[in-house]
Subunit: 417 residues, 2 copies
DNA sequence: ATAATTTAATTTGACGTCCAAAATAATGTT
DNA sequence: AACATTATTTTGGACGTCAAATTAAATTAT
């Protein structure tokens, strides 16, 4: 049941859509905000007045884009105040921690990748190491933790975003690694943890808001197989925040052993290491190969397949069939309107696509199949970082609009300059 | 992006939660509505005044429940006006059409099952037959189509609720059967078509609103295997309204032939006819048996399995394994917090449950498995009808609250009496 | 019987929001 | 310099919620 509504809710909602409009379309005049949102010019004026007073918005001076033959009073464009707040994105990988610093307008103003031997770390050590790494990053940028409004953290594997714990990840030997707890208590900054594929979906939505309004599944194929699920125009996180573990959706009961400890996961057939194993003809119940495969090795395998190596081609076909049946199952269950294939693995799309499409046709009834658009998108891994930033900023939009009072951890213009 | 808000939205929203509260908890005093919704007594008075004037609510006279030692001015209970509107639920089965007539308060005041040889019908004939059946039902109840505010239709198989067409159903030999189109144009009543398992989920939510707030999957096992998916406290319909075809989610690529025309669907192992086929040892690529199995036959098979018939037991175990792996895949993908097993097939739960649970444990990583509650619920098939009514009434709540003006097809008290 | 007490519902007045319309501002055109 | 045009702000009315005061309708106490 929805909560009761009052005039306060009205203002919050309308402040929110003004912020969202400017974030989505970039700076524009008050009139244009009104046209897009449906708000009257009077209301836009009033809301903008508030948000400017709170330093969330700025009136832009540059009339460079102005047409000199345009009659009438010139429009004053409104834009997000880049200095309204700073957010940090953290990306956890098997061999390092990537940190990016972004302004309220989304511009990344600093980034650095720190080597970190995550795999052999005990569970408690990760938090303290991450804290000192972030602090060092902040020092290098002449900032302190109090200047940061929010930290978003993306990880491979199974993230329990409700508890802020990495339940399991290929980047770690151990399980149950607490992340947001130590970071929040030490740095005093609100943190959120999520799966990296979900953050790619966030990035995609930030980039192309009007395309992803219904239900879409974004598949990310590479060293692993991930998925971000967009349901009714919002990234779906599930009960504990671990949703859309497409890579560990079972493909064949009792099949190939997976990094996660189970047998027959889709990933064990379609991730880099799975394809390589197929090629090497290792029996299914062997332990999985080292989970990170050298890209050059994969490149060589692709070339071999393209130049007629039947065994190599078969390995890719097996991968395509696994992904295809996984998608067929997803289509039957969720009836999505769009599936996006992305990730480094799509370089070999010519090798896997025929069996992938055949498997979908074989695995799901035509009436369901025909309503879903399947497309390929060249998404670089950097979208994990940008998507994490987008998600953090959207959260701030909500905080700022929701309270009317700026959250106490949000650095206003005065604090930063 | 959400739409802009104004005072009109506030009233609509608050009218809606007042109606919803009364539908959920039954009649109560204005004060209590205020306590539950968080609205002030003044606002409840104002909203109730409007809704009473529109004949959506009534002040109840019966103070039977009143405690005579209760001091103070006696509370006047508000209740949904049973005569505010009438809705009809239609349930399409392979051999008949069930019709139920319900009041605005949800009480079913008439129902009848009409024999109808659906299976051999040409696609266009169903609509005209259904229309004349509904008209005959209405005549028997001294009503005309203009007295009906809404018709909800539930069907087995794949319903495209966006187009109002049955894409495919075991009740019909042909495909693409238009349903809402002919009914709406002939009767002049808004109609909606949905899958029967989705309507069971609607009924479950109407009964137990506070249990189903997050993500839950309701499995219905019987002559087929269906599923209703509740996501974020609302039944999920997917892009075309065909969502949650769990029964036709592939289990084994190239496996047993299914009624839908594909091979290896979960249903082909776990529905009555699938279990019977397993028992009869028919090779997988044979055509499926007749899709409706006599319950007595299934009863005999169950008894055989319980008294030590190894082949019969194996058939049930195969069914459990198919459902288990299907649920494992669903858990990996959606990370739900609740799975409900229901339907006539759960009579044999003792036979299928051990392999079902083993398959889940085998098919999904423990960290995901442990967060989902799996329970069994004795749901009778009648919940398809009641759930369809619940869904139709909730839609009316929305219409009434949304417009403030009662929809023109809604019969008010004056029209009916 | 009558007053006091208690609880429910309504009325009143203040406040916040949106919007239409009028007023003002800032430019180009004649 | 007056006019036309476009953007923004101001004004005043409509409508929502709510707190507080008032009214209503019962029981209990005297």
């Amino acid at each position: 049941m929805r909560a009761k509504a009052d005039t306060d809710l009205v203002r919050r909602q309308n402040r929110h859509i003004v912020l969202e409009t400017l974030r989505l379309h970039g700076p524009m005049a008050r009139v244009d905000v009104g046209k897009i949102t449906g708000l009257s010019p009077a209301s836009v004026t009033s809301i903008a007045h508030q948000l400017i007073a709170e330093n969330a918005l700025l009136e832009l001076e540059d009339d460079t884009a102005r047409d000199p033959s345009q009659r009438g009073r010139p429009a004053v464009r409104l834009g997000l105040n880049p200095k309204a707040a700073l957010v940090i994105a953290l990306k956890i990988s098997i061999d390092g921690l990537e940190i990016a610093l972004a302004q309220f307008d989304g511009e990344i103003i600093a980034r650095k990748t720190y080597p970190m031997a995550t795999y052999d770390m005990p569970a408690q050590l990760f938090g303290t190491t991450a804290i000192s790494t972030v602090l060092s990053f902040l020092r290098d940028n002449r900032l302190s933790a109090t200047d940061i409004a929010r930290i978003g953290i993306a990880t491979q594997g199974l993230a329990d975003s409700r508890l802020g714990v990495i339940a399991w990840s290929p980047a770690f030997k151990v399980r149950s690694i607490p992340v947001t707890g130590p970071l929040e208590s030490e740095l005093g900054v609100p943190c959120s943890l999520a799966n990296d594929a979900n953050m790619i979906a966030e990035g995609l939505m930030a980039r192309d808001r009007y395309t992803y309004t219904g239900t879409a599944a974004v598949v990310f194929v590479g060293y692993g197989v991930g998925m971000g699920l967009i349901i009714d125009g919002a990234v779906y996180h599930g009960a504990t925040g671990a949703a859309a573990e497409f890579g560990h959706m079972n493909h064949v009961p009792g099949g190939a052993k997976c990094r996660c400890g189970r047998a027959g996961c889709l990933e064990a057939y379609a991730a880099d290491y799975g394809i390589l194993r197929s090629y090497n003809d290792i029996v299914d119940d062997d332990a999985p190969l080292s989970s990170r495969v050298d890209p050059l090795v994969m490149q060589a395998l692709e070339n071999a397949a393209r130049s007629g190596d039947a065994k190599a081609l078969l390995a890719y076909q097996k991968a395509g069939r696994a992904i295809g049946f996984g998608l067929a199952r997803l289509i039957a269950l969720l009836n999505p309107d769009r599936i996006v294939l992305s990730g480094p693995g799509t370089r070999a799309l010519d090798l896997i696509e025929p069996t992938l499409r055949a498997a979908i046709d074989e695995g799901v009834v035509a009436e369901l199949r025909q309503n879903v658009k399947i497309e390929t998108l060249p998404i670089d891994t950097d979208m994990i970082i940008t998507g994490t930033i987008d998600a953090a900023l959207r959260h701030l939009d909500f905080e700022i609009f929701a309270s009317g009072r700026v959250h106490n951890t949000v650095s206003l213009w005065e604090n930063v300059n």
